[in-house]
Symmetry: C2
Subunit: 212 residues, 2 copies
């Protein structure tokens, strides 16, 4: 049935077009400005049509959430080739920071907003955050490798991983939310927060080096 195929393909196509329109609005105008009606206007369909392809708005932003994780994993992939575990760990940290700073909107959806996490709790069985798990596993494995090289002696792998994640996430989220910027303007009157993020990261790396 070639007709059936073409129809389902067309349907998948529209589903994709909705997501593309949502992403366009999302990255240009931010989450606040991304409404169902504006998405509909973008693809020249009725707002209600969107509900034939996505359950609700949180379903769409969850799709973006997943797309963000795909991007992040693709950024991470080449780093897995780095042989030295510790250098790999540093590279992961740097890469994570760069991702957050170059895609602040995606970072917000992926790691800061409550909505996508609530979506998981409601729609999935329980905590089926596969995308997050995959990325975290990369971190876990790298830290395990570091421990075999003598780093993080006597420390629990998971605890080290959560702490490391918190540190880089803390920098990213303070950057994305604008809190770092405001603090910088007050403490030292500069708005070169990018430089400060890098410097703070280096301080963290300095701490890690002491564990060997």
């Amino acid at each position: 049935m070639g007709i059936q195929e073409r129809k389902t393909r067309h349907k998948e196509d529209l589903r994709k077009r909705i997501l593309e329109a949502a992403k366009k609005l999302f990255v240009t105008a931010g989450y606040e400005a991304t409404s169902i009606r504006k998405i509909a206007q973008e693809i020249e369909f009725s707002p209600t049509t969107i509900y034939l392809y996505y359950k609700d708005k949180s379903d769409i932003i969850y799709a973006l959430h997943q797309e963000g994780f795909l991007m992040l994993r693709q950024d991470f992939q080449p780093l897995m080739q780095v042989e030295s575990p510790y250098e790999r760990l540093k590279a992961i940290g740097k890469c994570y920071l760069r991702f957050g700073m170059t895609h602040p909107d995606f970072y917000e959806v992926m790691f800061m907003m409550k909505d996508p996490m609530k979506y998981l709790e409601i729609h999935c069985v329980d905590g089926e955050w596969a995308e997050g798990e995959r990325v975290f596993d990369l971190l876990l494995q790298t830290i395990r490798d570091c421990q075999q090289d003598g780093y993080f002696k006597g420390l629990d792998t998971i605890e080290v991983a959560v702490q490391a994640w918190s540190s880089v996430h803390g920098l990213c989220s303070l950057y994305v939310s604008g809190h770092l910027r405001n603090m910088m303007e007050v403490v030292l009157d500069t708005n070169e927060q990018e430089a400060m993020v890098e410097k703070a990261f280096r301080v963290f790396v300095h701490y890690l080096e002491l564990t060997k």
Copy 2:
């Protein structure tokens, strides 16, 4: 003019009652559920009356933002008596974490939401985030004291402070947003994230100890 006084006092009173109603809704139902109309219903006034006392909604949430910083500073105050700078630093970190975990809604407004920061940019001259500055100064001074005791040798005070802030903020925000919870459920099937926050904090403290 006793009458004039009573009137202005009554006006101040209503301004306070609006904020109290907003806070009540805020802590019981979260930010999302705190609407102008619901606040008005709570104080049994018309929604438009609120606009006679607050410029707009962001003005109200900024007031809550400030109130949160007042609470945090009050929590911090007794810690300033701790003589040992390093013990004081640890106490500040613990206190910050506890604040975020016991008042997640306030923490969100104070350190995670973009709105209050944007309010500052628009309404004030430029970066007049006095409340944040005060708290950060406490951290800065404590780290300076630590450095005199031999900690953080060869490191920049501000960079150390930003890094420390990022680390505890990272833990808090992952906790508040629910991301830590979801990750915990996947990696190790437990939802005792409070314990994990504490453990990750101890790992961080362990790092800091190595700088001496």
